[in-house]
Symmetry: C2
């Protein structure tokens, strides 16, 4: 009965993928719409996922010497405008503060859309010598971009993110930083979120406003659409020239430093939902699941059951798992459906007979497989099963990615493949924006990236017939 | 020589306490002024202190069942205005967003000065039954209040904080929550920040706009001025009536829930500086110090010294301490002064002779005391010394607090005591705001709080002579 109730609540993804996605966001209590148009609320369960992501990623950043800071959230318009390309890219989406208290401000202030300008200004005011370099900074905060249409996690006027900003003595060091952070994101996506990625470079058309080069990790969702996972930018000395950042070099002369920035956002929660979710709801990678194990006592009114469940929870907690017990008077069917909906990776069932026999049953969220385990082995078995679930999720997503990359040798073929299969279409490319625009207009696909791992599919660009410079991935993107 | 350089850099607190404070904020690299008037930058060392505070406090909140969420940063003006007192209190300090991208907004949006309105709106939209209560929420974010004059940490237009917001079935539960969170703050100040506090209730004049009751932990700085450490508010059903929050109660009737909120800010860093700092710089409580132990190799060019220092660092790191080694070619004198300035609680010196003898020297930041310790005992001794430093700091601050509370039995005496000694002046009070205003006008003191631990100093209010209702603390406050 509870199962039926649940099926009523979530739209099947095969019926309406967009509705399925929204249903999960709401019914799993990840987000709520607010009274401010285009702004969402991260509810406790959604925020706990974000916290777990933050904790792991922050540790990775610190491992490689990055430090957290906090920059002002408001940026004077004149400061924002110093670098021409950045402001062109972001100005249409900026929220402007024009009044402080009862006074009209002399200059309006932008709510940060991104903070290259603030970091550059800080360095222009403080940096003195090469001895202080590199400076490897990061901040966790929210930003505003005034989007027209919004969707939970994927596109909202305010979102939460980290933005890394670094400054270096040489171009080479800055380039290495850009690639190191790209690898860091790829590692995080694959090994923490269980989402396989295609790392590559963005075209000039798709790169970050003001960057010399933008690198990305591209993911494929269950509907075979592309999602840009996170990006890492190399700026050269563009910002340091625009903002007048200098330092005294080893040669005792004034020089311009080289910069990078890199960011990832709450959008990653959207990627997790659309990579792993199913028609029963969310499926969370164990490494970021707020509840890794839910303990459900069966026939809990019977003597000893609640005590047995409590002892189990205690043991699992002590072993370091994030575990909860549901002792509410809801039916077992409802509880099973509820925690499936919430994507809890492992369920532990323990009834009077199980406990009498000194055992309990583990159930995997991924495939419903049941494993009977002796109570004294429960910690070891839970660890094993959670690792297995993490692996299963990655493998399944990897299969989806690999099975949905198609080579195309003509624009017509690319168009046809996209229409029939979706996914990523890979072709050679001459490097001209005209061909990129043509692909968008005729096949509805944007360029996703020029993968770091290149293949030779031919010598010419299938769009214009001119000599090809690179292999490139195309797709319909979120 | 390095010592002299350092003394030049920081103003003595006896000469100019305000300048001493600003010097520490800047020279210890906690903050930097930004190009946005009234906004400061938290630099890595300052932010790392805040992160350590956050981690411990967040753990305390979660221990008692609180969950983190994220509410939108912008609040529509109409929503902000629903509760009359709150908006009266905050409207003069609000930063207003009037444009999103190129369009003028139909209704202007306030940058959150505090989020009671957003939480209330959320609950008005989602709360249904008593079964969902209580909801115990918290968020970590920044807020803006458009202050005229600003000082690092103490008063700035943007500051970082946590704001807890909870909603309860009964008034009693909400009152208990208010007091529980007050105790949590007192615990955090005393046992983590090593700052003794006077917990008490604010007068109606000093309470939070919109609160039925505000409780505070009041601290005393080294210049014997008062600083409000953190506050916890009880709202009754004021907000739930203003925002139309209802739930179906146990009696199946619609009821209004009861609410609380409680907050603490980066101002606590200011409190730490002014409670523990000295003329050599910052003194940090070990529990929140970004670097707990600095290892300084002596005569580090001599064979074996750097290896010995590295081995020491490794051992201390493994034991869980936050430890760093300074292997730079700066002089030993400069290094000692530098890490004193930065408030590192414990210094480890190891030279060739020490290492040969299988020992090193620990030096306490608090009193410069040197302890020779065998290398194999270094972890245990470091733990002992850090605990001792934490205790020394608390004891010293406690002494400063206790020795600077004076009873007064007339307005004249209160005035005189404040002039001569500063500190807290305690008197009886009739409860009339007129007397509070008179104390402010004549003695320059605001009411700090009506302490939870009351004393009987007499039967009448020394200001008006009418019957006294309570004992109250007065002081000159930051």
């Amino acid at each position: 009965m509870a199962k039926e109730k649940k099926v009523e609540q979530i739209t099947d993804m095969e019926v309406d993928f967009a509705q399925w996605y929204t249903d999960i966001c709401r019914k799993a209590e990840l987000v709520e719409y607010s009274s401010v148009k285009g702004f969402t609320i991260l509810r406790p369960y959604g925020y706990a996922i974000w916290e777990n992501m933050q904790k792991i990623m922050d540790g990775m950043f610190k491992e490689t010497g990055h430090e957290n800071v906090a920059m002002p959230v408001l940026i004077p318009e004149s400061l924002l405008k110093k670098e021409g390309e950045l402001v062109k890219g972001f100005a249409p989406e900026v929220a402007w503060v024009t009044h402080g208290g009862n006074e009209k401000l002399e200059e309006r202030l932008a709510f940060r859309p991104t903070s290259e300008t603030m970091f550059s200004d800080f360095w222009a005011n403080t940096l003195q010598t090469y001895r202080e370099l590199p400076m490897l900074y990061n901040q966790w905060c929210s930003v505003i971009r005034w989007e027209k249409t919004t969707r939970p996690f994927l596109r909202s006027r305010e979102f939460w993110w980290q933005e890394g900003h670094t400054i270096h003595e040489t171009a080479e060091e800055a380039q290495n930083e850009t690639m190191q952070q790209l690898r860091c994101y790829a590692d995080f996506f694959e090994n923490v979120l269980a989402i396989p990625v295609v790392p590559g470079r963005k075209t000039d058309k798709e790169k970050f406003a003001g960057a010399e080069a933008t690198y990305t990790v591209e993911c494929m969702m269950k509907d075979r659409k592309a999602l840009q996972g996170a990006t890492s930018h190399y700026f050269g000395d563009k910002f340091s020239r625009a903002y007048g950042i200098t330092f005294t070099g080893r040669d005792n002369k004034l020089q311009h430093p080289y910069q990078t920035s890199w960011g990832s956002t709450t959008r990653m929660i959207g990627a997790v939902i659309m990579t792993h979710g199913d028609n029963n709801g969310l499926v969370l990678p164990p490494k970021i699941a707020p509840i890794q194990i839910i303990v459900l006592p069966i026939a809990q009114h019977k003597p000893g059951v609640l005590e047995g469940a409590a002892a189990l929870e205690e043991r699992l907690k002590k072993a370091g798992f994030r575990v909860k017990t549901d002792k509410s008077d809801n039916s077992m069917g409802w509880k099973c459906a509820q925690y499936e909906m919430k994507g809890v990776p492992l369920r532990v069932e323990c009834g009077p007979r199980d406990l009498e026999n000194g055992q309990c049953i583990l159930v995997r969220r991924t495939d419903g497989e049941k494993i009977t385990v002796k109570l004294e082995d429960v910690e070891a078995e839970a660890a094993k099963q959670l690792a297995l679930v993490q692996q299963q999720m990655y493998d399944k997503a990897k299969k989806n990615l690999e099975e949905n990359i198609y080579p195309a040798y003509s624009l017509e073929e690319a168009k046809q493949l996209q229409k029939e299969h979706g996914g990523f279409i890979k072709t050679m490319w001459c490097g001209d924006e005209a061909c990129e625009i043509k692909m968008k207009e005729e096949a509805g696909m944007s360029s996703r990236c020029m993968p770091l791992t290149q293949e030779h599919l031919g010598d010419v660009c299938p769009i214009c017939g001119k000599p090809a410079k690179t292999m490139i991935y195309w797709g319909v993107a979120y």
